[in-house]
């Protein structure tokens, strides 16, 4: 039983990261109909930006919570700008081109970011300061650290903020309108290009925050870290019904749990087989994802 609870706790923690990253895929797909394959690498850049911040703030051993929050903020803002820059340079010029051009551009951007960071960091692993290691909430048969709680709370707070933004603000409403029908939205006087850039800013911001949190939790970051986690987050976005934000959040947590349970009860080497097998099964039975679809198929 205690094993089960431990897997549950671990799974929820991973799920919180995955959901944050998956939201970016979902939002960007919603407004641009683009699977932004560079999103995982934006996440990686966020991790490095946070690492830089903590290094500048002077990091040995235990860091105070303000420093951690500063790193999250700097990491998120950096990736927000990087994401917007990518969209401006690589995607917006291709908006009226065939979808395939956008897709190839996204893969190109992904490789460019990854290789760029590889050159800049000499392909080395970097280690975050051990800021969230101290202290446990539970230390019996089931172990829960304060660090895990901080990360889950931060993730939930960011998701709640996003939800409020999308449902309660004019920009958020405009984004939803754009997701429904780009041309009709344009006719209503919405500046489509600016709104697309805003979507990239917010989606990348969340990925960057997740990147810093990942660094704080796992401590070890490298240029290649975005690929696998990006692919899993993308799976979560598809499972949740891509474009559907609450569905994406729920599916992100689900994937985290699947990852944790399959590694625990089957074997870690089967995890990817289970996750991506699940993806194929769900797509075969419900092509719109587990949680229905909100994105209308456009002619």
């Amino acid at each position: 039983m205690s094993e089960f609870v431990q897997y549950l706790v671990n799974g929820l923690t991973i799920g919180a990261f995955l959901a944050l990253i998956a939201l970016g895929y979902s939002m960007i797909y919603g407004v641009v109909r683009l699977i932004n394959f560079a999103h995982g690498d934006v996440f990686m850049i966020g991790a490095f930006a946070g690492f830089g911040t903590l290094t500048v703030l002077g990091s040995t051993g235990g860091m105070a919570l303000p420093a951690v929050l500063a790193a999250v903020v700097v990491g998120a803002l950096t990736t927000g700008l990087v994401g917007t820059g990518i969209a401006r340079a690589a995607y917006v010029p291709l908006l009226s081109s065939p979808r395939l051009a956008l897709l190839i551009a996204a893969i190109g951007v992904s490789l460019a970011l990854e290789e760029g960071v590889k050159v800049l960091t000499d392909a080395r692993f970097e280690s975050y300061p051990h800021a969230l290691d101290g202290g446990r909430i539970l230390s019996g048969a089931v172990q829960v650290t304060w660090g895990q709680l901080v990360l889950v709370v931060l993730s939930v707070a960011l998701m709640a903020a996003l939800w409020l933004f999308v449902t309660r603000t004019v920009t958020g409403t405009a984004m939803r309108a754009l997701a429904m029908d780009r041309d009709a939205a344009r006719l209503q006087g919405i500046d489509v290009e600016r709104l697309i850039l805003a979507t990239f800013f917010i989606g990348s911001l969340l990925a960057g925050a997740a990147g810093v949190m990942y660094g704080l939790y796992y401590v070890q970051i490298s240029f290649g870290m975005g690929f696998l986690i990006g692919l899993r987050a993308f799976t979560a976005a598809v499972l949740g019904g891509i474009g559907n934000l609450p569905g994406t959040m729920a599916a992100g947590v689900c994937i985290g749990l699947v990852q944790s349970f399959s590694a625990g009860y089957v074997s870690s080497r089967w995890t990817d087989v289970v996750i991506f097998g699940l993806l194929i099964a769900v797509l075969a039975l419900r092509p719109t994802g587990l949680f229905g679809e909100r994105v209308v198929e456009r002619a």
């Binding site: 590889k118 392909a123 290691d133 290649g224 986690i229 944790s260 590694a263 625990g264 870690s268 990817d272």
Partner: protein, 401 residues
Amino acid sequence: MTPLTPRDRGRRFRTLTAAGAGLLLVPLAAACGSGGSGGSGAIRIGVPAPLSGDSASAGQDILAAAKVAADEINKAGGVDGRKVQIVEADDQCSAQQGAQAAQKLLNSGVVAVAGGYCSGAAVPAIPIYGRRGVPFVMDASTNPSLTDGGKGKVFRTCGRDDNQGLVAAKFMTGPLGAKRIALLHDNTTYAKGLADAAANSARQAGGQVVYENALQPGQSDYGPVLTKIASTRPDVLYFTGYFAEAGLLMKQRRQLGLRFALMGGDATTDSTVLKTAGPAAGGYIATTAPLAKDLPAAAKFVSAYKAANNADPGPFSVYEYDAVKVVAKAIDDAGSTRGAAITEALHKIKDFPGITGPITFDAKGDRTDPLYITVQVQGGAFTAYKKLDESGATWVDAKTS
């Protein structure tokens, strides 16, 4: 693009094939021209290593060490009055890239190869070098099958996994007093080979293997694996994978409050581990060939490496340095750059004074002296801990000699 008619396609195919064949022939001809004995210009020695991908930092360390060795040889007048030139190729630690890297090195006219890191990349490369008769001296590929099937044209300056597995098993059942042993690898040729070797030796030494499975590298979250392992109540977990995962395992073991001892193989003795694991690394034990700083003979190399690269040498740098040196010595002895002559000369080398100890190869191409010791993390650094004495039965302090 306009659609192609079948005839167009045929024509295009022929043109492409002809162009491709031409492109292939040019370097081939160049390679044949410079590969014979008595050529002039630099003697080219190939260094395949993972220069990109997850193991890139280890690969860069290896390449840097090869360059230090080549510099030294050239400053001392070269080999037979000719300079030595290092030709690098990226094998990305994968079988497919390993084969391509081998082909690339042969195409650029190398007379011998000194390098490699992942056994998985060496497996397909060995027959490619073998067909051309070019000797391959490996510096870090430790899988037993490599020299077992190498037909005497493959050598290594590093040890073998079965040898390391034996030392690990003896240490766990001996000084560590472990009865229940868990083994974790990462499904790479190297890690699985070492885990298998350790399992066999552990059973023979009277231990019980309670868990043997793999983790998925790059996943970062090994909490579930560790929880699963803890449920088998082991006394010790021996992890045979690479350093990126080892640091995370230490940290997460502590996070989960697990009590069993954690040991690792030689691919975990990287300083990244200490930074990642932080205080959780204290007391961690690894089996490894001696590191550069534990080898008095390597002091000069370490300072030359630091001067050239502004960093400490990696765990396999000393073996790469010796690999390049021993290849140069063999070319010098052979008085020829023909592959067969160099291979013969390598087999004849006896007690070559390498910085990792005297180098003599057996008929398979393995070193005759056992290499492995244990190191322990003390005060935030890997420190030589215990080693087997010459009888192979008694553990002695590794620092004293």
